[in-house]
Each structure stands twice: as C-alpha cells, then as structure tokens.
C-alpha cells in the first residue's frame, strides 16, 4: 500500500577553491552616509606567494560592513611593510583616516606568520600591532582575523568576519524535479561546502553554540524530521521521527537542549528535547499554532510565534516559571522571532499593508523599526556581534539572501548564480 518514493541522498564534503567558485556573490546597495576611509596596504610576503590576497580580503570585509570605504590599491603611493616605512603624507593625500599594513613570512613547511599594524593617519599614531599565525590552508582565516581586530579597534564592536553561514538552495534538476542543498560558507560567501543534497525539501538550519554542528529539518524519510550533522566529518543523526510537524529546531545557549515544534499531540506545540537523556518536555498547551521557538541569550526563556490571539504574534515563555508574556502588538502578523545577542533587540517577520518586511523591536523602549524595503522577506538571522542581520527575500522571481545592518543603514544582496537561496543561519563566533 505504501507508495515507493525514489530519492537520492548524497553526502558530499566538497571544498571549492575560494573566491572563484563561490556560489554566493555580494552586491552592496548602500552604506552609511560618512563611511570611514581606510587604506589596506598589500601585505608583503617573504618565502613565496600566498594563494590568497590577504589585504584584498581585509578591504572587502571592511567594505561589506558598510562602515568603511577602502582606498583602491592603484591609488596607493607606497606599500609600507612595517611602521618604520610609513610616510603618513602618502595616506593623508588620499583622505585615508586609517592605514592597515603588514608583512609576512612563510616557511618551507607552509607555516605562515603575519605581523600587521593599524595606524591612525591624522594623528600618526599606532593603534594595533599584532602577529597572527596560520598555514597555507588558512590564509583566508588570517585575513578575517586581521579584519576582526581592525574592526574592533575602530568601532569598539567585536568583528564577525571569521564566522560562517548555513543556508538552503533549491535548483531545478535535469529531470525537472527540484534539488535541495544544505550549504555552509564563510561569512563572505567563500569556501562553500555541501553538507547535504536531497530531492526532498530541507528547512530551518541552525547552529550549535560551539559552531561544530548543524541542526535542520529534512523530508528525506517522506515526512519532516529533525536531523543533526557534524561539520567536521559530515556524520548525521536523526533526532525526531514523530508524525505531524517536526520543525524549527533551535539549539539552547548551553548546548544541552533543542527547542522545536511538534504536532504529534494534536496541534503544533513547543517542546524541549534534552540531547543527553533524549527526553521530550512539552512547553506549550494551547489549541492554536505555537511554532518557531528560539532562545533568549540567558537560556532561561523561549520566544516563539503563536496565533493564540487570532493571528501570529511573538510570545516569551519563562521555562522555569511557565510565565508567558506577549511581546509584539504592532500590526496583525509578527513571526519567526530572533533575539540579538544584547537580549533586547527582537527581530521578526512583520506584515504591513500586505507586505512582509524584517522589523526590529527594542524590548525595553518598545522602539519599533521596519528595517527592509524588500517585501517578501523571511528567515532573519543576526550576526553574533549584533551589528548585521541576514534574511531571505525574492527579487525578479528568484530567491536570494540580503543583509541589513541592525540600524538599517547598510544593505547588500547575496544572490546565488543559479536557483533560489534561502533560510540563512549565521554561525556563532568560531574563534
């Protein structure tokens, strides 16, 4: 009686050459009004050329944050390798406010040591002087480390350039059927890796707090089920197998539990799953739809979407006390909540006049802000430094990712070359 469903599952661990074959590209549409002008002078290498251009990656990182504009290399008048070689006049002439410079050594075994500095041009003062070590395989990581340190030294906010993204793509295969892929890349779209390919839908990727595992929903068994997968060896484990919905998995900040939606007991409710004991604990008990749980940074409460009030709104449940609080009151549709690391900035999908935008609400001041001009928005995810968020939207009939700074001043798009991309999940800090 059971209809046989043919599908293929491939577990591939594909390392693509960085840059040239990156699926995600970046299109910056707007930055802040007065970006800081920064010059990233080429890092001078001894012991052989590197596979990557460190200073180009650093300049692109800083530019992508929207807070900086970088001086083009062809305009630079000199390339200092160390503090002693800096002619500040060369940089004042270009209007640069900051200068990043450095030199590196590469030994025969491929061990790389880069000494880099950050100078404030007008005051001619050194702000940073550091060493970073790596290997041929981690040159991009060296560059992102430099970007993180430079960004933090100037803005006071920890840089998130060494983080990763997980996302889902959907492409039409040769037989006309959709192929779904779960992918991980660097925060700039480079070094994309295929985690899972399936002819059945994939949804709702999320990260473990240590950044070593993903959790997601896969329809490969014929109905939605939750899986976890390690990045290191791509090994997978099925977590749930209930009838009905098995969805929206969210890892707790202490790494011990998953919050999720299950409808096995009659209608969609929020449950906690203890990863060690494998026990399930039911959190909600209401005939309405309760779904899309996520955690507060202190791990004490779960925020979720519920239409118990008649239409979707966001609620917060204290796990220990059972205390329930409604958080959103603006408009008739607020869903898919995420909290920024500050614990007070709530981002969500918000409907206004039939259009679906990403909006933020300060839970202390109740300041409410629509962040996006796109209008079929979903799946917001916040960078671990709280400065930027990514979301999914549509443009010209194609699904793509978009980024907007938490104050809406900076925007860019990340389309893929083919098919649709959606459901971004920003990793935690990885270093």
């Amino acid at each position: 009686m059971l209809k046989q469903r043919l599908f293929t599952l491939l577990f591939l661990w594909v390392f693509l050459a960085a840059g040239a074959q990156a699926e995600l590209t970046i299109e910056i549409t707007s930055g802040v009004d007065n970006p800081t002008v920064i010059a990233v002078s080429p890092v001078a290498m001894q012991g052989g050329m590197l596979a990557e251009d460190i200073s180009a990656i650093v300049a692109a990182d800083l530019q992508r944050s929207g807070l900086f504009t970088s001086v083009p290399r062809e305009n630079m008048l000199s390339f200092p390798r160390n503090q002693g070689e800096i002619y500040y006049r060369d940089w004042k002439v270009l209007g640069a406010q900051y200068l990043v410079f450095g030199s590196g050594e590469r030994d025969a075994a491929g061990q790389i040591k880069v000494t880099f500095g950050l100078a404030e041009v007008n005051s001619e003062k050194m702000v940073l002087n550091q060493v970073v070590n790596g290997t041929d395989a981690s040159v991009r990581d060296i560059a992102h480390y430099i970007s993180d340190k430079v960004y933090e030294a100037i803005t006071g906010v920890r840089g998130a350039f060494s983080t990763r993204l997980a996302y889902v793509t959907s492409v039409q295969g040769r037989d006309g059927r959709q192929i779904y892929r779960l992918l991980v890349s660097d925060a700039d779209g480079a070094r994309e890796r295929l985690m899972l390919e399936s002819s059945e839908p994939l949804m709702s990727p999320g990260w473990s707090p240590d950044g070593k595992e993903l959790v997601y929903v896969s329809f490969e068994t014929g109905r939605p089920a939750i899986f976890r997968q390690k990045l290191a060896d791509a090994s997978r484990q099925q977590v749930t197998n209930f009838t009905g919905l098995n969805g929206a998995p969210a890892w707790s900040p202490d790494g011990r539990k998953l919050a999720m939606v299950l409808s096995k007991d009659g209608n969609p409710e929020i449950y906690l799953h203890d990863l060690a004991s494998k026990q399930f604990t039911r959190l909600t008990n209401h005939f309405a739809i309760d779904t899309e749980p996520n955690w507060t940074p202190d791990g004490k409460s779960v925020i979720f979407t519920s239409d118990r009030g008649g239409s979707p709104q966001i609620y917060k449940l204290n796990i220990a006390t059972g205390g329930l609080e409604r958080l959103t009151f603006r408009g008739t549709y607020n869903a898919r909540p995420r909290l920024a690391p500050d614990g007070r900035t709530l981002v969500m999908v918000h409907r206004d006049k039939g259009q679906f935008h990403i909006a933020s609400q300060d839970l202390i001041t109740n300041d409410f802000r629509v962040l996006t001009g796109t209008y079929l928005d979903e799946s917001p995810t916040v960078a671990p430094n709280g400065a930027m968020l990514l979301y999914a939207t549509k443009r010209g009939g194609k699904g793509l990712l978009a980024a907007v700074s938490i104050d809406a001043g900076v925007r860019f798009f990340l389309p893929t070359r083919e098919g649709d991309v959606r459901e971004p999940a920003w990793s935690p800090f990885l270093n």
Binding site: M1, L2, K3, P201, M203, S204, F219, G222, R223, P224, G244, L245, G247, A248, V261, S263, P268, I289, T291, E292, T305, S311, P312, Y333, A335, R336, V349, R351, F356, L376, E378, S379, K394, G397, R422, E423
Partner: protein, 170 residues
C-alpha cells in the same frame, strides 16, 4: 491540478449530484457500487468506476476534484471542496484505501508557520472526511508548507494555486 480541471471537475460533480437527485435509489446504489456487485457506475460521478474499487487507478475518477483550495490565512473548506469530499467519502466508506492529504500554503510569511498552516488545512480535510464516516486510520496528513509550490509566481494567481490540499494514494 489546473483551475480548468477543477472547474470541469466541479461541473461534472454538480451534474452527477443533479442526476443522483433525480434517481430515487441512486444513493443506495452508490454505497454498493464499490463492492463489485455489478461493476457499473452509479449516480455518483459520471465516469466508469472499476469493479471492486470505486477509484480504479485514479482518485479523480469521474472528474471529482482531488485538490482543494483555500483563502489566504484560512483553513476553512469551500463549498466546492465539500461537494467533492462528499464523493470521496462515499467511495472511501465503501472501499477504504490509504489516502495521503498534503497541505500547502503560499510563500508569504515565515516558513515554519506556513508548515503549521498547511497541516491545519490538511487536517480540515481529514476532519471533514471523518465526519462523513471515513475511518481516520486511512487518512495520513502531511504538510509541505511553502516548500512544494504548484505555481512559482509571486502574484495573487500563483498564491491562490498554492494554498491547497492535495489528495493522493499512499
């Protein structure tokens, strides 16, 4: 399932109900049609019903709809859905087969909430069939939310085609 097929199906169902109303014993015969007693189609539907199985190989036999559409944000059955489901209920009561009800929604809003909406719609179809006497154990509900659209556009027409429940054999 295209809108044209849906309209054709609705017309045929409406006609057959009219014919059934005209015949005084057709509803009784309909109950027995699937038993294989005489194999001929009764007042229910105008297509040929296979002997021993009112569906034959096609759930939509007789032109009855197997896809049911919903208004935005709603999981209430429309009149044409109920009419088609009455036919399905008669067939399933007479000859139970395993059925899968797949719920879907349009792309607007968040994906997991749309999974719940799709399930709500499929459950609405299941509950209606159960009320008509179909045994629930034969009816499997699954939601695809917005993950398997029937129409790929981002306009009202495409969205209307995606807010649906599809009935298939399991």
């Amino acid at each position: 399932m295209s809108l044209h097929a849906l309209k054709s199906g609705f017309f045929i169902v409406a006609m057959s109900m009219f014919l059934a109303a005209c015949s005084s014993t057709s509803t009784d015969d309909a109950a027995g049609a699937g038993m294989g007693a005489d194999g001929s189609g009764s007042g229910v539907g105008t297509g040929t019903a296979g002997a021993g199985d009112a569906y034959g190989s096609d759930l939509g036999a007789g032109g009855v709809a197997t896809v049911f559409y919903f208004d935005f944000d709603k999981s209430t059955l429309k009149d044409e859905a109920r009419a088609a489901l009455n036919t399905h209920a008669q067939r399933l009561r007479a000859n139970p087969i395993y059925i899968r009800l797949e719920g879907h929604g349009d792309e607007r809003g968040s994906r997991e909430y749309n999974m719940a909406l799709g399930e709500r719609r499929a459950n609405a179809v299941k509950e209606y069939l159960v009320l008509q006497g179909v045994s629930g154990e034969y009816l499997e509900v699954i939601s695809y939310g917005e993950e398997r659209p029937a129409a790929l556009g981002s306009d009202e027409g495409s969205w209307a085609l995606n807010r649906r429940v599809e009935m298939t054999r399991r």
